[in-house]
């Protein structure tokens, strides 16, 4: 187990360098005139241009820039945004908001998809099963750029059930509607996987044994069947977390939430290379760690899986 974790961590280091290198290359290739993008429509004087070029090493080659960036990263310096603010400051503001949003979304998605998936499986072919299949398919077919403004309009503005936008401190209540929007993109597959897994497990021999032991139906389903059915669902939830981060870019933009997605969208628009790389680097690390966590959880759920 220990050796497995060490090996995974070493693999993560390689993945991290590969990912950030590619990212850096993409951002670098995309830069036309970052100084002009920074100041907007106003003219830039020659002396300002020289000073900024100096500060951001814009005249040096791609590899040198990557080298400077990595050197900074490992000495605790995440670099400076083109806006002049320290990157880590902006991240310290944005990350907690997005993490909270993603966490609420995951909790909503997991609760809904597992309970509805189990219920669908028990009543397969019934009204609930078919209606939920239809609704989840509709949600699955709608991209988040459609769902987000639609929900904002219906539930935030027309019905007024939820606040339509978030303020700077982004309370849980303000994040609820955007979290539901985010959850919508993962509920459909999670629920279908739960349903399939439960249907499959209900036919298993150990279910017959559990019934022969005189256990109640509730216990057979929620203790024996569910634990086995959750194995594929947990994996999916872990993978979905990456999808949620991507979805957060649109959702945060629509709901005006000052999180990672919001900042990232702005950074991409203003060709703010250091900021994009800073945010995405953390995103990469987070994603890698979640994946490791999911794999470890997998072993905890299924004792037949042992890592060495």
């Amino acid at each position: 187990m220990f050796r497995y974790i060490v090996r995974r961590l070493l693999q993560m280091v390689l993945t991290f360098f590969g990912a950030t290198f590619m990212l850096f290359a993409l951002v670098f290739a995309n830069q036309k005139d970052p100084i002009q993008a920074l100041v907007g429509e106003r003219p830039v004087s020659e002396s300002q241009r020289i000073a900024l070029t100096e500060r951001y090493h814009l005249d040096e080659g791609f590899f040198m820039q990557y080298w400077y960036y990595m050197k900074g990263l490992f000495t605790g310096d995440f670099g400076t945004s083109m806006t002049g603010r320290k990157n880590w400051e902006m991240m310290a503001d944005a990350w907690p908001v997005t993490l909270r949003l993603a966490l609420i979304a995951i909790v909503i998605a997991a609760t809904f998809s597992v309970t509805m998936g189990v219920y669908s499986a028990l009543k397969r072919g019934g009204v609930f099963d078919n209606v939920s299949l239809f609704i989840t398919l509709v949600l699955l077919a709608m991209p988040i750029v459609v769902i987000a403004p639609l929900f904002q309009l219906i539930f935030g503005i027309e019905l007024g059930w939820f606040p339509p936008t978030a303020t700077r401190d982004a309370t849980v209540w303000q994040l609820l509607l955007p979290a539901i929007v985010l959850a919508c993109i993962v509920i459909a597959p999670e629920m279908r996987v739960t349903r399939t897994a439960v249907v499959e497990n209900l036919r298993a021999d150990y279910v017959r044994t559990a019934r022969a032991k005189g256990l109640t139906r509730t216990r057979v389903i929620w203790v024996h069947v569910l634990r086995n059915s959750l194995i594929p669902v947990v994996t999916l939830i872990g993978v979905d977390l990456g999808g949620l981060m991507a979805g957060a870019i649109v959702t945060e933009h629509v709901f005006n939430i000052p999180g990672v997605g919001f900042n990232l969208a702005r950074a991409i628009k203003t060709e703010d290379g250091p900021l994009v790389v800073g945010f995405v680097s953390i995103l990469v690390i987070l994603f890698l760690f979640i994946n490791l966590l999911v794999d470890l959880l997998y072993a905890a759920l299924d004792p037949r899986i042992r890592y060495e």
């Binding site: 298993a204 021999d205 150990y206 017959r208 044994t209 559990a210 019934r211 022969a212 032991k213 005189g214 256990l215 109640t216 216990r219 024996h224 634990r227 086995n228 759920l301 299924d302 004792p303 037949r304």
Partner: protein, 338 residues
């Protein structure tokens, strides 16, 4: 233990009469059991013998009340335990009969045990849910049970998962689980089919010992005539959902009264028949959605005549009083007399 209303300690331990079970599938209604009759007394071993698909496992599941419904339905008949018709009980009363009074072990212990819980958890669960024991007390009882079924180092093995046990040890765990609450009836559905021959003998020996100690009624479902000859007192031979012959084990082996039993016995390979052609039963068992008219065995039967091909199916004929034996064949005298 909860007391079942109407229970009569002097009534027969288990009595199945005219049991009908059908499976309603999209391809039609499969009549899995078409009037099964048998009984079981305390301390006795009844073997239910038959080919795959003849309804022996379904019979066991119907007695336990663990048929998958839908598609399986008990449509007719009685299953009396000490005079109480189990089919008339509520689901909750029925549930308490399981494990407490009638328990069951299954063919493949690896798939029959839940892979994600330790055997200690699965054994202890029976005590916790039926006897309201604490987790630690239940675990203690689980260790004792593992000891009783002769699993070495029970104290450490109790925390292992099913996949960490060998096939024979897993079946011992199943047996321990079934016997946890001292049931009066144990149904063993092909308990040794998935095991190799030496382990088979050990498991059958263990079952026989435990049965003798507890004076338990044992229903042994099998297609293995060798196992039956060793341990059974009486045999019920099933074909296409009916008990076609029922007799004490010695009588059935020496003088079968039904052509199907006879054909089964003749198809056992024997050492003294070396070099000769092995006799087989021609044809295939009937498809349960389309059972032949009259006697279901008639298309494969050497004795079949016109009477056998017409409904109704042969009734239960009394072959002899002492010992009690029955057969569902119009020509049982001819079969037995040869």
């Amino acid at each position: 233990m909860d007391v079942l209303p109407g229970i009569d300690p002097r009534a027969p331990l288990l009595e199945v009469s005219d049991l009908h079970v059908e499976f309603r599938t999209q391809y039609g209604v499969a009549k899995a059991i078409n009037g099964a009759n048998f009984w079981l007394s305390a301390g006795e071993t009844l073997a239910i013998l038959g080919e795959s698909g003849c309804g022996k496992s379904v019979t066991a599941q119907a007695i336990m009340g663990i048929l998958d419904t839908p598609p399986g339905y008990v449509t007719q008949g009685q299953i009396k335990y000490r005079g109480v018709d189990l089919l008339k009980l509520s689901e909750n009363e029925r549930r308490k009969v399981r494990a407490n009074r009638i328990a069951m072990i299954f063919q493949d212990a690896l798939s029959a045990l839940n892979p994600v819980y330790t055997v200690g958890f699965q054994l202890g669960e029976v005590f916790r849910k039926h006897r309201g024991m604490s987790r630690s007390a239940a675990k203690q009882r689980a260790i004792e049970l593992l000891d009783q079924v002769k699993i070495p180092a029970a104290r450490t093995r109790v925390d292992d998962y099913p996949h960490q046990f060998s096939g024979g040890m897993r079946q011992r765990v199943m047996i321990a689980m079934a016997l946890a609450l001292d049931p009066e009836v144990l149904i063993a559905d092909e308990p040794t089919t998935a095991l190799d021959v030496t382990v088979q003998a050990q498991i059958m020996g263990l079952l026989a010992d435990l049965q003798r100690e507890r004076n338990m009624g044992l229903i042994l479902i099998t297609h293995d005539m060798g196992v039956v000859a060793d341990v059974a007192d009486r045999i019920s031979v099933m074909y296409a959902g009916r008990v076609v012959e029922e007799a004490p084990v010695y009588d059935i082996y020496s003088r079968p009264a039904h052509p199907y039993t006879r054909a089964l016995l003749e198809s056992i390979p024997r050492l003294d028949m070396k070099g000769q052609q092995l006799s087989v039963i021609r044809g295939l068992p009937p498809v349960l959605t389309d059972v032949p008219k009259g006697c279901a065995f008639n298309p494969r039967c050497a004795y079949a005549r016109d009477a056998c091909r017409q409904d109704p199916a042969p009734p239960v004929y009394q072959v002899s009083q002492q010992p009690h034996r029955t057969a569902r064949c119009h020509f049982f005298r001819e079969v037995i007399g040869e």
